[in-house]
């Protein structure tokens, strides 16, 4: 949502303001249209499709969490499924053991994951790249067993897991059913959190986070407190994925150790890469892919579902080498160039100030794609 164009405007460019404003406006219209469609969807489709769409939003949100850390900050995690699981269990335990209303369980789920994320972020300061990936991988492997551990069984319910009550439709909305309500609730949380992420990545803090990704030593030389930002990013990333986990407990209405196997983490990674590293809307594409492609693969061939999945993934990577977001940028660029040819007047105004900034943006985008 916040992208190079917006920042260029923020830099106070005067001359191409008209074009920038137009792009920004287009962007706002696209966003408004997308939200409108998202609001209408649950009333067009059957309950089960609404449930799937809810899951897409949830996976998209979880992938956004991973993206903040991997796409924007350059720290690798193969274990975000663990935070997803912790968030889900916090909600399940609060709702079923302590009778807390479901909406009050989301902030604690986020906070618990934030703290766990910070604790994980501390060793992350000493570990880089693949080593950090291994540590997070260990977390994902350990979580299901921890959930079964009998010292915690009073809370977690052991292998049997916890059955979670379906959130009730509030009394002031009698005409919608439980699936639609949960979708709208999830949509509201998702939008809120995407808005937060958009502001974060567009802010000074966001630029610091990305500077660390691009060149940590240079960032530190510019006065960025790299350890602080890295740890905080880890925490915020875990918070996002944890809230997604909490929502998933509400949607699935059941948590069990088998729900949070290593595959969940791998799926998030797949969704992240195919959606586009460092892109916010790309996360939702990742969510779509993670939920629907296994089903498509199975419908193509039961015996060779894994092969079909692999082939689809290869095709997607081949067509969109920098993820769905990169593909969208590419198509957008083509359209813009087309329009510029039609409207040469816009190009006529030379712009000395914006150009360097754009170049930086361009390089950044490239380095993100190379990551």
């Amino acid at each position: 949502m916040t992208t190079p164009q917006q920042e260029t405007v923020a830099l106070g460019v005067a001359a191409p303001a008209a074009r920038q404003a137009m792009r920004l406006q287009t962007r706002h219209w696209v966003l408004a249209g997308a939200i409108a469609v998202a609001l209408v969807l649950p009333f067009v489709f059957q309950g089960f499709v609404v449930f799937q769409l809810t899951e897409v939003l949830i996976y998209g949100l979880a992938i956004l969490g991973l993206n903040l850390m991997t796409g924007f900050n350059g720290q690798f995690s193969v274990g975000h499924g663990a935070f997803f699981g912790v968030g889900a269990y916090v909600t399940a335990i609060m709702m079923q053991r302590w009778n807390v209303p479901y909406y009050w369980t989301l902030p604690p789920a986020g906070i618990v994951c934030f703290v766990v994320g910070i604790l994980f972020g501390l060793p992350a300061l000493r570990l880089r790249g693949l080593y950090l990936a291994l540590v997070t991988f260990a977390a994902a492997v350990a979580l299901p067993q921890l959930l079964k551990f009998h010292g915690l069984e009073g809370w977690t319910g052991g292998v049997q897991g916890i059955v979670v009550n379906q959130p009730d439709v509030p009394a002031f909305l009698p005409i919608i059913d439980a699936d639609q309500w949960l979708y709208l609730f999830t949509l509201a949380i998702t939008l809120l959190m995407f808005w937060g992420a958009s502001n974060l990545t567009g802010s000074r803090t966001g630029r610091a986070i990305m500077a660390i990704r691009d060149h940590e030593i240079a960032a530190a030389a510019m006065g960025i407190n790299a350890p602080l930002y890295k740890t905080l990013t880890f925490g915020v990333s875990a918070l996002y994925t944890g809230v997604a986990g909490a929502l998933s407990a509400l949607a699935v209405q059941f948590v069990a150790p088998d729900s949070f196997s290593l595959f969940v983490s791998i799926n998030f990674l797949v969704g992240l890469i195919l959606g586009g590293m460092g892109s916010l809307p790309g996360c939702l594409f990742g969510g779509l892919f993670v939920l629907y492609v296994p089903n498509i693969a199975e419908s193509l061939s039961r015996g060779l579902a894994g092969v079909a999945y692999g082939v689809i993934m290869l095709l997607v990577i081949f067509v969109m080498p920098s993820g769905a977001a990169g593909f969208a940028r590419y198509v957008g660029g083509l359209l813009a160039r087309h329009r510029e040819v039609e409207l040469p007047a816009h190009r006529a105004t030379p712009n000395a100030v914006a150009r360097p900034a754009q170049r930086v943006e361009h390089q950044r985008a490239e380095s993100a794609e190379n990551d």
Partner: protein, 411 residues
């Protein structure tokens, strides 16, 4: 209004079952009544199973079920209706089970779901199925909780559950070793505790003190050696070994090593010759007793048995790629055969209500690979179709069945 109806119906359902069930069992062909997924030519049956993921080796159960329906269709179906078996992969993950089951119910409009595999996966859809009043037939898990017609009148189990097995071991010990000092080895989770509860219930309050050692293990443990030594030094003369194969084998081996010779009762989940007794040492395993309810396809005793011959023929023709030494391929067609029996009893009243009613009125039904004499019986208050097992003693080469069929029904 919606809530009122749902609640009323839920409350009324058990009552209707109690009064109507037995009378309606051999339903005469009255006017046709169809629920979702039924036409004059087809009945849609839903299913989920682990075709991929960590538990995919169990997926063969669902494939064998599909093969059985294929055979039934080739023979003309049930009352002229073919079975359209819609089965999806849930990778043994509860969220995927919920998604796929909702797809089955809401998009594919199946009449019911049958033979879905796994305890956590079935737990995830347990409430959904009961709230939407869609029969969840013959779940592929041995947990005891499925036998709960009062609170979950739309869910029914199939195989003997762990608690009833535990009761049978207790009864056996009481009869054969009145002076028993018992050690129970069990997995430290609900599955293990189900067994322990069965044993303690079976002993009754008077004899519960016979259990001197309750030793647990975690699936992550390296060995169970210390638990076995602990039992010996506590003076136990009976071990009820309910561990999964790896640990069951370790316990047998360790007992032999320390020359401890108790009465060794091995549970049904760990009694495979190939999986437990061979690794433990066939010589060490001599004299161990265990319980069975299906014919072991690797046991030559059955090679001239009509049921076994039928099964081999079925496998050769309809599921040739299936492994004929895998007990899961005995399990699958047996479950599917029970589903077909339910549909036969339904006649032309193929509604969800009638399906669960007929599933709860199976009388003396048997399938080829059940042990001789074991029958499937349900009533509106008894949702545990198979309750009987037979004890067997290992003679150093194979299991020798002995004694009468035993019934460990819970409740």
């Amino acid at each position: 209004m919606k809530h009122l109806t749902r609640r009323t119906v839920l409350a009324a359902a058990p009552a209707a079952l109690a009064f109507g069930g037995p009378l309606l069992a051999p339903l005469p062909a009255r006017a046709k009544q169809y629920g979702p997924g039924v036409t004059d030519h087809e009945i849609k049956v839903g299913n989920t199973g682990p075709y991929s993921g960590p538990a995919s080796s169990y997926g063969t159960v669902n494939k064998a079920e599909a093969a059985y329906y294929k055979m039934i269709n080739a023979q003309g179906g049930v009352n002229g209706r073919k079975i359209n078996f819609v089965s999806y992969d849930d990778a043994y993950t509860p969220p995927k089970t919920v998604e796929m089951t909702r797809k089955l119910v809401e998009e594919d409009h199946v009449l019911f779901v049958a033979g879905s595999l796994g305890t956590p996966t079935n737990t995830a859809i347990w409430r959904y199925m009961n709230e939407h009043k869609v029969p969840q037939l013959f779940v592929g898990t041995g947990a005891t909780k499925w036998d709960d017609p009062k609170h979950h009148p739309w869910t029914i189990g199939w195989q003997p559950n762990y608690q009833s097995e535990g009761r049978i071991y207790a009864a056996y010990v009481l009869k054969n070793k009145p002076d028993a000092v018992i050690g129970v080895l069990y997995q430290d989770d609900d599955f293990g505790k189900d067994y322990l509860k069965g044993v303690l219930d079976g002993l009754g309050p008077k004899h519960a003190s016979m259990v001197k050692v309750k030793a647990t293990y975690e699936t992550t443990d390296a060995t169970v050696d210390s638990q076995v030594v602990q039992m010996k030094s506590a003076g136990c003369n009976v071990i009820i070994n309910t561990a999964i194969e790896k640990f069951a084998a370790q316990a047998i081996r360790k007992a032999a090593q320390i020359e401890w010779k108790p009465l060794h009762v091995l549970s049904g989940i760990g009694n495979s010759v190939a999986g437990t007794l061979k690794p433990a040492g066939l010589e060490n395993s001599k004299g161990i007793v265990s319980d069975f309810f299906v014919k072991d396809p690797t046991d030559p005793e059955w090679h001239n048995d009509a049921g076994y011959k039928w099964w081999v023929g079925f496998m050769d023709k309809w599921y040739p790629e299936g492994d004929k030494t895998d007990g899961a391929n005995v399990y699958g067609p047996s479950v599917a055969a029970t589903v077909i029996q339910v549909l036969k009893q339904c006649g032309s009243t193929l509604t969800r209500e009638n399906v669960i009613r007929q599933a709860a009125s199976l009388h003396h039904f048997t399938v080829p690979m059940l042990l001789p004499g074991i029958t499937i019986n349900t009533t509106p208050t008894d949702f545990a179709p198979i309750k009987q097992v037979q004890m067997a003693r290992f003679d150093g080469e194979r299991w020798q069945l002995f004694g009468p069929l035993l019934n460990g029904a819970v409740g």
